[in-house]
Amino acid sequence: MTATASPQTTVLAEQVVDGPRRAPRKHRMPAKTLRWQIALYALLCVLALIYIYPFLVQVATSFKTDASAAADPVSLVPQPFSVAAYERLFLNSDFPVWFANSAIVTVFVTIGRVFFASLAGYALARLRFRGRSVIFAALVAVMAVPAVVLLIPKFLVINQLGIYDSYAGMILPLLVDAAGVFIMKNFFESVPPSVEEQARVDGAGTFRVFWSVVLPMARPALITIVILSFQGSWNELSHFVIASQSPELTTLTKGVASLASGQLSQGSQFPIKLAAAAIMTIPVAVMFFIFQRRIMNASEGAVKE
């Protein structure tokens, strides 16, 4: 994997592209350029509105009453303003339990994935041992297996192992993610090995080198894995559908899905459903805004395989 194009190169490239085109036009036909610019911004704003408005409506509707949600589905101002949906969600439903379960699973899965993916990624990138290429080929093959196809198979094993309907059954199968190993391997290969070599010469063992020399350097890649695992396990639905059934082990995704199909509320009580969906979005949204720059860069690097 080649490294992400540096910002300077990008800016330079863009200047080369735009320099000759824009400079003469400024003098020759400013009216036409201006019209184009206005059209472009208008188009972008309309598109942005289409992408954002649904989420604004979601939040607004969660503060409406059932009647006003049905009567006026487009407006962003709840009239009358009501927090009944949230009250019901937090005081008279299993919602807090769902939230706690999602948090527990997400924390364990994220820690596990970061640790195991970096261990394996390091071994595949740096350590030389018989069978390494076979392991790598197996990982690539694993990534090609569609997750949905594995629903029944996973249930069979979880059931057979006696961990059905337990945290173990919900967490263990998610602990490893082949794509994460792949990302870490690519990252370690892009780092010059000289630093570790020095530590080795100084007599540090392999795990020691990995833990105190390599991992601290791998911060950018680790953050990428954290983001991906957090998002992946927080938003996971199908695995929890087949791994557990008791109400105490319901996660947010499963709980909100049952809400949507009307198991808690009669009729179309959209405010409570939308409130649940909105709260469920908050953690990933926060994560997204904290690491926004990193997310954009991560996927820029990922495409250049």
Binding site: T10, A13, E14, Q15, V16, V17, P20, L40, L44, A48, Y51, I52, P54, V57, P73, V74, F116, A117, A120, A123, L127, R128, F129, G131, V145, P146, V148, V149, L150, I152, P153, F155, V157, L172, L175, V176, A178, R200, V201, G205, F210, W234, N235, L237, S238, V256, A257, A260, S268, F270, K273, A277, M280, V284, A285, Q292, S299, E300, V303, K304
Partner: protein
């Protein structure tokens, strides 16, 4: 690198001591990944393969003595049985095929369009627009589906906006009628020719295969485009930023206008990204499960049934474990086959002889292959 590989053999070299135990460490480091993937991926697939050939009903262990090997019966039931199982599988394939046919081109075109718009060097609020287009991608499919059920409900926001335009919006998630059938209906065609209605494939008549996605499924199509375009936009932006300015400049010097530059210069250079986006799109769109589980459970009139959901519901809800597993494996084969087909269609073709000859300096024998 090669020097390091051969190092352990030379006993006298200083790196031998350093590199000793590396094999053990290598296996130790990869062991957790291998064990977990083995237990929760390899073993399950083998077990499911057995279940797909057995008459296991979900009670007790699939390996107990009262579970029998039934050969290809389960596969036959869903592909040639002539019963409900075959009709459901045919319907699910029909629904998902239309979904793929619409979602993949739409999401690819839209994400490329957004990337080109947002990638301009002089654009105020570039970060804002990128964030706006990407945000739907980070939210969970469950949350988006709940939102979609509201937006596309009978008295929902979408129908409200349509009514401003004087359009009487459909009853989205309760409308099982096919879009193509509806279009034909507007020109007076309400029943198909006997050749199409009389003959069936996988228990579904050809006329029904051509029904198009139901109105309900169309809402899911729009949702998929809405949620995935942001991710693919990022991939395209990365690809666009990799295109060297010099080629573009040369094209401009040659007098190519913006439209020509996009089709002749930009797009060919984006081919690797396009390839990735199409592959990911194709693989993703055949795995529709979360939306159906959350939203419609296959309804109305089974028009949002997908193979992934059908596999789940046959096994977990109808206790037809063998059939559920068989559907999963058929789906797997479909996804792999289509991915290979797509790779073959989009492969790098050698330049045609006629083309190559134009650039050749000497002789015609040494042409491309």
């Amino acid at each position: 690198m090669s020097a390091l590989t051969s190092a352990p053999r030379r006993a006298g070299s200083p790196s031998a001591g350093i590199r000793r135990g590396e094999a053990a460490a290598g296996w130790l480091f990869t062991a957790p990944v291998l064990i977990i993937l083995g237990i929760f991926l390899l073993v399950p697939v083998l077990m499911a393969l057995w279940v797909s050939f057995s008459d296991w009903t979900g009670r007790g262990s699939p390996f107990s003595s009262n579970v029998n090997f039934v050969g290809l019966d389960n596969y036959a039931a869903v592909t040639t049985g002539g019963g409900l199982a075959e009709r459901d599988f045919g319907t699910a394939l029909r629904n998902n095929a239309w979904y793929v046919l619409l979602v993949v081109p739409l999401q690819t075109a839209l994400s490329l369009f957004l990337a080109v718009l947002v990638n301009r060097a002089v654009l105020r609020g570039r970060g804002f627009f990128r964030t706006a287009f990407y945000f739907p991608s980070v939210t969970s499919s469950v949350a988006i589906t709940v939102l979609w059920l509201f937006l596309f409900s009978t008295s929902g926001a979408v129908n409200e906006v349509l009514s401003w335009l004087g359009v009487n919006g459909p009853n989205w998630f309760n409308d099982p009628s096919g879009v193509v059938h509806n279009l034909l209906g507007t020109v007076g065609v309400t029943t198909g020719p006997a050749a199409l209605t009389g003959n069936t494939f996988l228990g579904v008549s050809w006329w029904d295969w051509l029904a198009g996605p139901s109105v309900a499924m169309s809402a899911f199509v729009l949702m998929a485009v809405f949620t995935t375009s942001g991710t693919f936009m990022l991939l395209f932006i990365a690809g666009l930023q990799n295109i060297g300015g010099d080629v573009m400049e040369a094209a401009m010097m040659d007098g190519a206008n913006g439209w020509q530059r996009f089709w002749r210069v930009t797009l060919p250079q984006l081919k690797p990204v396009l390839f990735t986006v199409l592959t990911l799109g194709l693989i993703g769109t055949w795995q529709v499960f979360d939306q159906i589980y959350t939203g419609t459970q296959g309804g109305p009139g089974k028009t949002t049934l997908t193979p992934a959901y059908l596999s789940y519901s046959s096994a977990f809800l109808s206790q037809q474990w063998g059939q559920g597993a068989a559907i999963a494996f058929v789906l797997f084969v479909i996804i792999v086959a289509l991915t290979i087909l797509q790779r073959w269609v989009l492969r790098d073709r050698p330049v045609s002889r006629r083309r190559a000859r134009q650039y050749e300096v000497r002789g015609t024998n040494g042409g491309a292959r």
